[in-house]
C-alpha cells in the first residue's frame, strides 16, 4: 500500500531495463528492442540507458547487422560494476561464492564445518571464508547473502529450530554477520535461495524447487517472485502429511513426506522415495498450478534419473486424469549443482537491482 511518485517510477523503469540487459547476456540488446520489451518509447529508453552508461552499469558493445537501415547499437550490462557474496551454510559444510552482476562466479570457497561446535565457532568460520571474498568485492560489493537450513525468519535474519541443532533457535545470524563483516547481510532459507537463483537464472513463471538432502524443503516461485508467506516460513514441504496416521516423523507428526522419503532412501528403495516425493509434488502442483518442478539436493544428485522418472510418473498420471485440458508439468534436475544455494544466496542482494522484490 504505497503511493508512487516520479522517483519510484524512474527506479522501476531503470530496473526493468537493467533486467533486460542482464537477461540478454553477452549478446547484448538494442535500444529499440528494449523499448518493445518494456512498452516504453524509444526515447525513454535512450534517456534511461544514457544514465546507466554514465553510472557505468551499461556500455555499448558493437553494432548489429543492418536490417535495411542504420544498424542498431548493441548495449550490454557491465558485469563487474557490482558484486555480491553468496554463502551456503549447511549442517556440515560451508560454501561461498563471489558473483558479478550478471551472475558469473568469479571466486569460490569451500570448508567443512560442524554446526554442533557452537555459534561462535561457526560464525568465525563463515567470517573467515567470506572475509576474503568481501574484500575482493571492494567498493562494488553490495553485500552478503546467506542460505541456511530452515525454518528461519527472513525478515529479521533470525534462525529458528534447525533440525538436530535446537540451540540455534533465535540466533540473530544476520545482525551478527553484518557486524563482523561490516557489509549488508541478508539471510534466507537454503531452498528459497536456490529457487531465487533459478528464477533469476532464467526459469520464468511459477515453479517449485525441491531440495532433498539431510532434510526436505521447497522453494516456491510464484509469478517470478519467491513466495515466503506471512511469517516467511513458507515452503515447509517436508512435513506435508501424505499418509494419515502413517509412521512417526521426528517433527512429532505422522506420515510426513520427509519421514516416508528418507526412510525409503535409507532402505535403498529409491523408487518408493521418488513416488512419495511425486505425490507431494503433485499435491503442490494441483494446489498452486505451477509450471515446473525442479529437484535438487545431495540425495537427488546421487541418483537423479530414478527420482526425476518417479516424480514425473506421478505428475503424468495427474495430468492424464484431468483430461485433455490438463498439461503435464515437466520435472527436471535443478541446474547449478552443489553451488546452487550459494549462488542463489548472492542473488538475494543482486536481484533487487533488477526489480525483483526478493531482497
Amino acid at each position: 500500500m504505497a503511493g508512487a511518485n516520479l522517483p519510484a517510477m524512474r527506479s522501476h523503469n531503470t530496473a526493468l531495463v537493467l533486467d533486460l540487459l542482464r537477461t540478454a547476456g553477452e549478446g547484448g540488446i538494442s535500444r529499440l528492442e528494449l523499448a518493445e520489451r518494456t512498452g516504453l518509447t524509444p526515447q525513454a529508453v535512450s534517456k534511461i540507458t544514457a544514465r546507466l552508461r554514465e553510472e557505468g552499469l551499461a556500455a555499448e558493445a558493437g553494432r548489429r547487422a543492418s536490417t535495411g537501415g542504420k544498424p542498431a547499437t548493441v548495449l550490454r550490462l557491465v558485469p563487474d560494476a557490482g558484486h555480491a557474496v553468496g554463502i551456503q551454510l549447511d549442517r556440515d559444510e560451508l560454501r561461498a561464492v563471489l558473483v558479478e552482476l550478471d551472475g558469473t562466479v568469479v571466486a569460490a570457497r569451500h570448508a567443512e564445518v560442524d554446526l554442533g561446535a557452537g555459534a561462535e565457532a561457526v560464525l568465525g568460520a563463515v567470517v573467515e571464508l567470506a572475509g576474503e571474498l568481501v574484500e575482493r568485492g571492494g567498493d562494488t560489493l553490495l553485500g552478503v547473502g546467506v542460505g541456511a537450513p530452515g525454518p528461519l525468519d527472513h525478515t529479521h535474519g533470525v534462525l529458528h529450530r534447525v533440525t538436530g541443532f535446537p540451540e540455534y533457535d533465535g540466533f540473530p545470524l544476520r545482525d551478527a554477520l553484518a557486524e563482523r563483516l561490516g557489509v549488508p547481510v541478508v539471510v534466507d532459507k537454503d531452498s528459497n535461495a536456490a529457487a531465487l537463483g533459478l528464477a533469476v537464472g532464467g526459469e520464468g513463471g511459477s515453479f517449485a524447487c525441491l531440495l532433498l538432502g539431510t532434510g526436505l524443503g521447497a522453494g516456491l516461485v510464484i509469478g517470478d517472485t519467491v513466495h515466503r508467506g506471512a511469517r516467511t516460513g513458507a515452503g515447509e514441504f517436508g512435513h506435508q502429511v501424505v499418509q494419515l496416521d502413517g509412521p512417526p516423523c521426528h517433527c512429532g507428526d505422522r506420515g510426513c513426506i520427509e519421514a516416508l522419503c528418507l526412510a525409503a532412501v535409507a532402505r535403498g528403495d529409491v523408487a518408493e522415495a521418488a513416488r512419495v516425493l511425486g505425490v507431494g509434488a503433485s499435491n503442490l502442483a494441483g494446489l498452486l498450478d505451477i509450471d515446473l518442478v525442479l529437484l535438487g539436493g545431495r540425495t537427488i544428485a546421487a541418483a537423479p534419473e530414478p527420482f526425476v522418472r518417479g516424480v514425473a510418473a506421478v505428475l503424468d498420471e495427474r495430468a492424464r486424469r484431468e483430461g485433455g485440458l490438463g498439461t503435464t508439468i515437466p520435472v527436471r534436475v535443478a541446474p547449478g549443482g552443489d553451488r546452487g544455494v550459494a549462488e542463489g544466496a548472492a542473488q538475494l542482494l543482486l536481484a533487487p537491482l533488477f526489480g525483483r522484490a526478493d531482497g
Copy 2:
C-alpha cells in the same frame, strides 16, 4: 514486465485512494489520513480527491472534531456511483446479487436450476435472473461476475470438466453470457470468488477459503491477491492426497481429501471429516505460511462448530510442534453466508477499481 508512465502512476495512486475511501466506509477518512496511509503528500491527495469528487466517486461528508486546529473534512466514497452483478452458478441453484461500489447488496435473486438440463437452458435461466439486475444497474453497471464450480479457465472464461457434468467441458461461458447480456462478464471458480469477496471485505494478508459442499475446493489469497496460478487452475484442494494408496476417489486417484472427507460426512462421522480437512489445511498452511483458514460451503454451514473445532485442533498441534515461534493459525467460518460466492463474484468487477489485480 511493463514500463510505467505518468497515466499508470496516476491510476495507481487513484486506485489506492479509492480503496482507502472504500475501506473507511461510512465513517469516512480525512485528506491528511489518506496522505499518511498512502505515503503521498497532502497536496497530491488534495488533487486526487478533487478529481474523484468531480467524477462523482467521492464526496465530502461533514467534519471531524478538532484536535487543536482546523477540523478535518471527512471524505466518503459515493456507493452508488458504480454497480456490479454477481452470480453464483452452482450445480443445483442460482444466486444473483446487485452490489454497489462499497459492497452493499441492493438486490438479490434466487432460483433453482439443473445443470443437467443443458447449456442452453442454464444460460437462459442465468440471463433471466441477471437481466433484471443488469437493467437496474443502468449506466453505472460495470459488468457481471460469475462464480462457477471448477476447474475452469479464468482468463478465457471457459468451463472445464465440472464434476458430474462432463458435457460442459470447453463451454465458453463468459463469451456466451457477454453476448446475451451485452455487458462485460468475468468468470471465476466459486471458491476464488468467495475468497476475493472476503479479501475485499477486509481480510488482509494471506488466507485460504475452503468450501465444502457438493465438492471441496479452495480459494487462496496470497498477499491480498487471489492466487490462480499459471493456468488459473490453482486451488485444487479436494484432490490433495493425504493417504497414500487410500480409498479411490471419483477423480481416479486414491486417498484424496475430498473422497475421505465426503465419505466421513456420508457416514455421519463429522469429527473424522473435520480431522481430514484439518490435515489438508495444515499442509496448506505449512506450505504457504498463511495467516488464516476460513471454512464455508453448505456442509460447513450445516454444522459449523465441530468442523471449526476439528480443523483448529489439527492446526494447534502443528503450532505446538513448531515450538514457541510457531503461531497458531486461526480457523473461522467464512462470513457472508450463502451469498458469499455471489457477492465475491461481483467483486471480480469492482475490485480492479480499487487497485486489486484480480479482475
